[in-house]
Amino acid sequence: MDPRETLRIAGRSIRAHRLRSTLTVIGIVIGIASVVVFASFGASVEASVIDDIGGTDANNVYLLPASTDDEGPAGGPGLGQPVFTQHDIEQLREVKGVETVLPRGIVQLSAVEHDGQTVAQRQATATTPATFDNDSVVAGRGFRQGAAELVINERAAAAFPGNLSVGDEVTLQLASGDRETLTVVGIVSGTRGGFLSSFGDVQSRYYLPTEPYYRTTTESPTLGVDQKAYPQVTVTTAPTAVQSARAEIEAYAAESDATRLLPAGFEVVVQTSGDVVEEIQDVIDRITRFVTGIAVIALVVGAIGIANITLVSVTERTKEIGIMKAVGATNRDTMQLFLTEAVLLGGIGAVVGVPLGLLVGFGAAVYAEVSFTLPINWIVFSVAMGVTTGVVAGLYPAWRASKVDPIEALRYE
């Protein structure tokens, strides 16, 4: 049977019962729109969270000690131990694709003084000048290695009444009891290689050059000499070489000084921002799927509406089915007609529901102040769902229609 004629006849019988077709379609619209709303809102939240935490850190590779068993957080005695030796850092610099290797050490403080004011501060970060990129320097510049220079973040600058600014002198009270006076040369909003640095950095941070302020040393098992050693190393790579460099770094990590220095039960973990982003993505994904799953219930209810109305339609039009069969309609033709009707209802529901859902999803994204992301695959899914809903819901009624005995049907009044 001509598909266009099938469409025409199906369309006509839908139009003949305008009100109930509309109500049925509304059921599907609600179902599909809810799926689209939750899916698009979830996708928007995910995209903007990842944008927040991913961003410029995409080509960072982090090396840090972690417990080998999965239980509990990666904390304990291993974390924070200075295990990455100068030798490790030099070896990492040799890895292909590596641009910079940023060691990070902790200098224990007790307080910071400026202009007669004292602010408590427990630690400063000792690192290298490559830590500062141009994007994150708000004022001044990065420090120079070997100079009595200090870089602070915006939060630290605001910690003093009247704010610290570039050129101010600051005295650090070290936990060892020593006092060091340095000049603030830069204020930054974040640093390269800071672990998820831009994600809500609310603590005061002081950055010192490793020379001369970082003095923690450990004996390098490879070289047998005392060297500076750091608890954490961040490697930045060429943007295209993240994965290959990571693989080589992992290979090196296994035989590094750090691995040998770590106590039993700890190992060096190599992570990229991508890993972290993936984990967060995974969590949001799961939540989105769960909520969208709930919305699918609405769609199921809509499907039952279609099944119901198509069944009513079959019963009502028993006589018409008999007539069509008498003039040559095969069981297949009959089935096709009713199935088309159900699919049309589902399809109309999808056509109306998808834009409606996107509109509401967009509204929700604006309200939640996240940028709106068009979840293309979910839209395709929703339209497919609408049509599939029509097929599934229409299948049984259409089958019933095809099984109508024409003799009985023609007698039906």
Partner: protein, 239 residues
């Protein structure tokens, strides 16, 4: 004289030893070894009281039902051995049904109703609408193409139904009490139209319980309790 022997022209419908029973509390024999042949271009009426088996006969010839035993041949096809789909095709191309209650599709116009069998036969849209108009012209409804059944009188509806039956140029027209739902005058018009159609060469099988109506045919098959009682040849009235 039996029906099978009477055929000179080629038979469009041939039933041989057809048996049909139903389970209705007990076994009801609707047709009991019935043989009947309808020649090309013939006009036959079937008469009998309710429950005599005439509806069953019509359903079997029309391909709506299958015999328990025996052969039903329509236009060269053996319907007893045909699949449901093959019977549907025979219904759409070889058979033209005319019902007592018209049985038009309520939401389709006259033209679309007439073209309906051609839809299932896979005709092209323009071709089938052209054909439908042509047949509507033939039954005298050239000015009612786009009317829906509700906008037509009973007689006009039955003419649309006849046009629909004629549209695929079937081997035989099966008319089941075609005047049962119209007044006497309109009924006369319908019978006149059927006579015209028969004169033009179409074979007709008419079912009626009214002798007055059945007498329009060339012969009357009397059926009772599932058996052919008598086949009577109608002498044309000289009036």
């Amino acid at each position: 004289m039996t029906a099978t022997e009477s055929t000179t022209a080629e038979a469009v419908v041939a039933l041989s030893d057809v048996r049909k029973t139903y389970e209705l509390g007990g076994t009801v024999t609707a047709l009991d070894d019935v043989s009947l042949s309808l020649a090309e271009g013939s006009y036959t009426a079937v008469m009998g009281p309710s429950g005599s088996g005439k509806s069953t006969l019509l359903n079997l010839i029309g391909g709506l039902d299958t015999p328990d035993d025996g052969n039903v041949r329509v236009g060269g096809q053996n319907l007893g051995a045909a699949s449901e789909q093959e019977r549907a095709t025979v219904r759409g191309t070889e058979i033209g049904f005319v019902f007592q209650t018209f049985n038009l599709m309520p939401r389709l116009t006259a033209v679309e109703n007439v073209a309906l069998p051609l839809v299932f036969d896979g005709w092209d849209r323009t071709e089938r609408l052209d054909r439908a108009r042509e047949v509507l012209d033939r039954v005298g409804l050239g000015d009612r193409y786009d009317h829906e059944p509700a906008q037509l009188s009973g007689g006009q509806r039955q003419r649309v139904a006849i046009a629909r039956a004629l549209a695929p140029d079937p081997s035989i027209l099966l008319a089941d009490e075609p005047t049962g739902n119209v007044d006497t005058d309109t009924g006369a018009g319908i019978m006149e139209l059927l006579a015209e159609i028969n004169n033009a060469g179409n074979s007709i099988l008419l079912v009626s319980h009214s002798r007055r109506i059945a007498e329009h045919a060339e012969r009357i098959v009397h059926i009772r309790d599932g058996l052919i009682e008598e086949i009577e040849t109608v002498t044309p009235e000289v009036a």
